[in-house]
């Protein structure tokens, strides 16, 4: 149906979206920052790749073990560091990510800096799409459950959330482990798509990219995060001729979005078909209202 090239891009987009969904729950809904999720990705990737390539394990159990290992690592790290505040927590995740990378570079079983090759190609487009749909359903269910509401309460006002009886540390740990498991999941798919792994793929820039994607899409919106990662994955492919300027423009876009549209592309809202239709129908009215001088800035003020 699609050319190999298109399929390849679609698979990468699905994988990125899974990792970004994890960050969306962590950063968008719980407002914790992690710059170590590339580390969890690499744990999932290496674990599953070693299991299929060296031990001949089938794909699905290998993914599950990869996810599990990433989750365990996050649980252990989170138990130690989640009591730290703000930037201090962030730096421990950053340190963790870099430590994992250096470690995988150093130990022989992963092939070190030369990389790990000979991983079977298991990730096909249908599998990637099924995984993405599953991931969206799981994340959506979590966000709309009691636990998800606890996350949002912590995001809005941590002390108030604590005073109404929400176990802050436990909720934070849950969000952190969840995001790590999604990262591990993405990593496992990634390994069996590329058939080659090197520690350099999971550096700080990758972690930062995941967080930036969520910010671009809108903190507090799952659909926004999906849309954001679509933009971040597809735009460079569309503007291939500008390959050299890619990262420069990307950085510029981040700064401009933060300055001009601080709530991200989607803000706190979720995309919904019903509302979109209503919006299109109401569009003439909205435009006349805008022309009458009711700018969107006033509306933002009013909402506050």
């Amino acid at each position: 149906m699609f050319s190999d090239y298109t399929q390849g891009i679609m698979i990468i987009a699905c994988i990125n979206m899974i990792a970004v969904l994890g960050i969306s729950v962590l950063t968008g809904f719980t407002r914790l920052f992690s710059f170590g999720n590339a580390g969890f990705m690499s744990i999932g990737a290496y674990t599953s790749a070693l299991l299929t390539a060296k031990m001949g394990m089938p794909f699905i159990p290998a993914i599950l073990v990869g996810i599990l290992f990433a989750g365990i690592a996050a649980y252990l790290l989170g138990s130690l560091t989640l009591k730290l505040k703000g930037d201090y927590f962030l730096i421990t995740t950053l340190g963790f990510g870099e430590m994992v990378r250096v470690l995988f570079n150093y130990i022989p079983i992963t092939g070190g800096a030369r990389g790990l090759s000979g991983i079977p190609k298991y990730t096909t487009l249908p599998i990637a799409v099924i995984c993405l749909v599953l991931a969206v359903i799981i994340a959506w269910t979590l966000i709309h459950s009691k636990y998800g509401r606890n996350f949002t309460a912590i995001r809005e006002q941590e002390i108030a959330a604590e005073s109404v009886g929400i176990d802050i540390t436990r909720s934070k740990k849950m969000a952190f482990v969840f995001s790590a498991m999604f990262a591990g999941w993405a990593g496992a798919l990634y390994a069996h798509n590329l058939m080659f792994l090197s520690p350099m793929m999971f550096n700080l820039a990758k972690s930062a990219e995941l967080t930036i994607t969520v910010v671009i899409g809108g903190l507090g919106s799952l659909t926004g995060s999906i849309f954001g990662s679509l933009v971040v994955t597809l735009l460079p492919e569309i503007f291939r001729s500008l390959a050299n300027y890619r990262m420069f423009l990307y950085g510029l876009a981040v700064v401009l979005i933060i300055i001009l549209r601080p709530a991200g592309l989607f803000g706190y809202r979720e995309f919904s078909i019903r509302k979109s239709i209503a919006f299109v129908k109401a569009a003439p009215g909205t435009i006349t209202a805008l022309l009458k001088g009711k700018s969107s800035k006033d509306k933002m003020e009013a909402r506050k």
């Binding site: 560091t81 505040k85 201090y88 930036i212």
Partner: protein, 290 residues
Amino acid sequence: MFLQQLVNGISVGGIYALIASGYALIYSLLGFSNWAHGEVAMLGAYVALLFTASLQLPFIAAAIIGIGGAAIISFLNERLAYRRIRENKAPTMFLMIAAMGLSIVFQNGSMLLFGAKFQKFPPIMPVSSISIGSVHVGVLDLLTLAVAAVALIVLEIVITKTKFGLGIRAIASNTATAGLLGINTNKMFALVFAIAGALAGMAGVLLGLKYNVYPTMGNIGLKAFIASVFGGLGSVRGAIVGAIVIGVTEVMVSGYLSSGLRDLITFALLIIILLIKPSGLMGVSVEEKA
């Protein structure tokens, strides 16, 4: 051997300290980590390099222009990006993400402008090392150490003894109250960014002399950031101590263990320190207010 490594480590730490003190200054005022700070150092080094290489200026003059250039770039960051974000009343973490965006812009922008290749300053010292007994110490290391020490001592005096420093400390303690008491906070922010930029530019030039000048040299900012967290966010003295500790640890680990393990041990040390003392070595632990 050991003494040599120690001098080397302290001089590396001195470079980290110049950048880390900027992180601490900015954090103490605005409560965010300015991730573009390492890139400011890189740009300072490039400015100095351009003036020595193309205009044939003497090194000292070019270095001063480089430091000034870094100060201006840092000031423009605050004026064009951070101030607008503050005026949006956005959460402080948005400042941090904007800083990350700026750092990507600077790194890739200089890649496009100057190319990815390593560039060297023309040699400025007639001899590369001097021997005291059996110890060989690099002249550049001593120079770095001296420059960093003088700059940081001046910074410390400015913060603790002058009226301007009092203003900085007042804003660090409470921005709104300081503003009510007649301190022009925006002007102070701009000045502090310029000072931090100048220190970073100094670090960039010294780093360029010691190694090379290249677009990703700003990644050293990460080490400096770690040093400032290690010492306690927002504490200039802590940042300096943290920078020296990290510089010496790095040199010792690569000298005696393995350079591959250098970063692993630095990060492990950081996490351990934070677990023992959650607000860094000299950070003040602030109770969160609702």
